[in-house]
């Protein structure tokens, strides 16, 4: 998993409540055998004027000029600003996979759906809950100034505005530790790599036939 320590980036405003996982990535893309490559289909139905199909080249599809991510000023955004109950709907991990593949590192909203919130951490995305009024003011500032950027500092657990104002947010200690160090569950297990190797060494001596291997 990618490390997350601090992230400074352009903010894209997703100005609607209850954005569900079907909106984030429509169901026809779940047949894929991959967990990467969902970026071009992030918000597919909002983003394009035609119907998206799996395995299609999206570069020639008609874009919806009104959709926020299609506006030049938000290109390269890495922080998504959202409204309440973001990520509701199914448990599909494709939703964070799509956000990640598109290039988002953090999502700021007044509230998130549970499963989506958990899935984000498993996939290196930081979901940040801030007060509704704070989120309102961030939306206003994002709309007001082109190229508006925020900094997210996970070590200090703050969101920093361009003028230096800071908003503190909460994050579970274990998850903070995993993200700061780029550890997923596999990463956590790999912290015990030495113990695994030691086990293997002893076992190889006691039961060498278990290590003959498939060749």
């Amino acid at each position: 998993m990618k490390k997350f320590v601090t992230e400074t980036g352009v903010v894209a405003p997703m100005d609607r409540a209850n954005v569900d996982t079907d909106m984030i990535i429509p169901k026809q893309f779940l047949k894929s055998i991959k967990r990467s490559g969902f970026g071009p289909n992030l918000f597919d139905e909002l983003r394009y004027l035609d119907e998206g199909k799996p395995d299609q080249d999206c570069s020639n599809r008609p874009l919806n000029p009104d959709f926020v991510l299609n506006q030049p000023r938000y290109q390269g955004a890495s922080i998504l600003l959202a409204r309440r109950n973001f990520g509701c709907g199914s448990s599909r991990e494709h939703a964070p996979w799509a956000l990640d593949d598109y290039g988002f590192r953090a999502v700021i909203a007044p509230s998130f759906a549970d499963i989506f919130f958990n899935n984000c951490f498993k996939n290196g995305i930081l979901p940040i809950v801030l007060e509704e009024e704070v989120v309102d003011s961030l939306f206003a500032e994002t709309f007001a100034s082109e190229g508006y950027q925020l900094t997210v500092n996970l070590e200090r657990k703050v969101v920093v505005k361009p003028d230096g104002t800071e908003y503190a947010f909460d994050v579970d200690e274990f998850r903070q530790h995993c993200l700061l160090n780029g550890l997923d569950e596999i990463g956590v297990t790999l912290e015990d790599a030495e113990a695994i190797k030691e086990y293997e060494e002893k076992r190889r001596e006691a039961a060498p036939w278990l290590f003959l291997g498939v060749r």
Partner: protein, 471 residues
């Protein structure tokens, strides 16, 4: 201190680290991979820039999606594009990471749970995982084996370990001698009928007793295969001479000095006499009759000589509702004899019953007989290319074909209908597979789980008969 169960011994031997929160890191000796549950795991590895911890601990083969009809054109001949892409992806991933794969045209290809033991990739005393719940099959070799999810497949690829909590110990003791015409499949169906589909939840389920000891390795695999249908993620049988005899000389089995040492160590792979189990269930094997499932869960099972249940006789309300719903789905009426169920298709195959012994038992029944004219289809799908070859050497293919059954290429086939082999809506099938859930063998399909001999007899008569009268 009381003695240890077989499960305790296997657990202790694979414990890498006990964590404070009660979970533990368990070392995995073997991982089997197939096309359905591995793609995102490989993708995850790639995205994280990780390599498999021990490439040669893995063995892969496509099984769920492969066609069982003529397939000399290989992967490109798979008609359904989604299936084709899954199989292709497995090929590409195994090539990229250097994992040994028995590809579609390799004669060693087959159902993962058939090829592991067949190749000696399944050894006594191992921990074995696969992204498939019927991994419990391998417990027949006194190996700790269970199914895992896709994220865990990735975890094992990357770390050779799994984060686990220890299960409890359950002993199923099957005493006595089986009647002729009664097989391993009948034992496990009877066990599930007795303890229910949740009876083994949270337990490692060890099978012991005279009736189990007298079974061949194939029979023990059938039993352990369906431990998961009783809720237990892992089934187990102790090592004896049959286990060692079966493993000897297999391609990936140890040789020479390694073999001698291994055999000496394997002698200890049994529960100590004074081991304490959290739960013990005893069953009289000599009273088990051939079993047939009538409903939509493996616990909805009865003996061939009894009648389909009547919801009105069920004591609790939920039970009667469940029985009624199952009867409706299955298109059966209460109190009817199982022998009066009209069959449309017969399926002999799946990781439960597609090994050479299963095919021999089925062939012995149909030999010199003909499939009933009322049947639409009777399929025999061997579990692997090598099982197919062996059966053909013994002339079993001819026996089946002469009787009017179709002789197919190896794979999961109609067990879960991910390829072209499916039931039509409302069709009844006598099947040697392991799950009779709604729609399992095709949308609206009706599955009756039976032993290979019972399926073969049903093919001949077009309805269920008591195979004890035929052997």
């Amino acid at each position: 201190m009381p003695g240890k169960t077989l499960y305790d011994k296997l657990w202790d031997a694979h414990l890498v680290k006990q964590r404070d929160d009660g979970s533990a890191l368990i070392y995995i000796d073997r991982q089997l991979l197939h096309e359905v549950t591995s793609p995102q795991a490989f993708e995850g590895l790639r995205l994280a820039g990780r390599k498999p911890w021990r490439v040669d601990a893995n063995l892969a083969t496509p099984d769920h999606n492969v066609p069982t009809t003529e397939r000399s054109s290989g992967v490109s001949g798979i008609e359904d594009p989604v299936s084709r892409i899954q199989v292709q992806t497995l090929d590409e991933n195994c090539d990229e990471f250097g994992i040994v794969e028995f590809k579609m045209l390799d004669k060693r290809q087959g159902i993962v749970h058939v090829i592991g033991p067949e190749q000696g990739a399944t050894l006594p005393g191992m921990t074995i995982v696969c992204g498939d719940s019927h991994t419990s099959t391998h417990g027949a070799f006194a190996a700790l084996a269970h199914g895992i999810g896709t994220s865990e497949v990735e975890h094992v690829l990357a770390t050779q370990c799994l984060v686990q909590k220890k299960m409890k110990n359950l002993l199923i003791k099957v005493n006595g001698t089986l009647q002729p015409g009664v097989y391993a499949k009948d034992i496990i169906l009877a066990v599930i009928g007795e303890i229910g589909t949740a009876g083994g939840t949270g337990y490692a389920m060890e099978f012991a007793g005279e009736a189990i000891e007298s079974l061949s390795m194939e029979g023990r695999m059938t039993i352990c295969n369906m431990a998961i249908e009783a809720g237990a993620r892992a089934g187990l049988v102790a090592v004896d001479d049959k286990t060692i005899e079966y493993v000897k000389g297999r391609p990936y089995a140890p040789e020479g000095e390694n073999w001698e040492r291994a055999v000496a160590a394997w002698q200890d792979l049994k529960s100590d006499d004074d081991a304490v189990f959290d739960k013990v269930v005893e069953i009289d094997g000599s009273s088990i009759a051939p079993q047939v499932t009538w409903g939509t869960s493996p616990e909805m099972v009865i003996s061939i000589d009894s009648n389909v249940p009547n919801p009105q006789n069920s004591t609790d309300a939920q039970g009667s509702e469940g029985i009624q719903r199952a009867l409706d789905y299955m298109g059966l009426s209460a109190d009817m004899s199982v022998k009066d169920i009209k069959l449309d298709r017969v399926f002999i195959g799946s990781c439960t019953n597609s090994r050479i012994e299963d095919l021999r038992e089925a062939a012995a029944i149909v030999k010199g007989r003909k499939v009933a004219a009322t049947l639409k289809q009777a399929l025999v799908v061997p579990g692997s290319g090598l099982v197919k070859e062996q059966a053909e050497r013994e002339g079993l293919d001819k026996v089946f074909i002469e009787a009017g059954l179709e002789w197919r290429e190896p794979g999961c086939s109609m067990c879960l209908a991910m390829n072209a082999d499916k039931l039509g809506q409302g069709e009844h099938c006598a099947s040697t597979s392991n799950r009779n859930f709604e729609g399992r063998q095709g949308f609206g399909g009706r599955t009756h789980l039976v032993s290979p001999a019972m399926a073969a007899a049903a093919a001949v008569f077009g309805h269920f008969v008591d195979v004890r009268d035929l052997v």
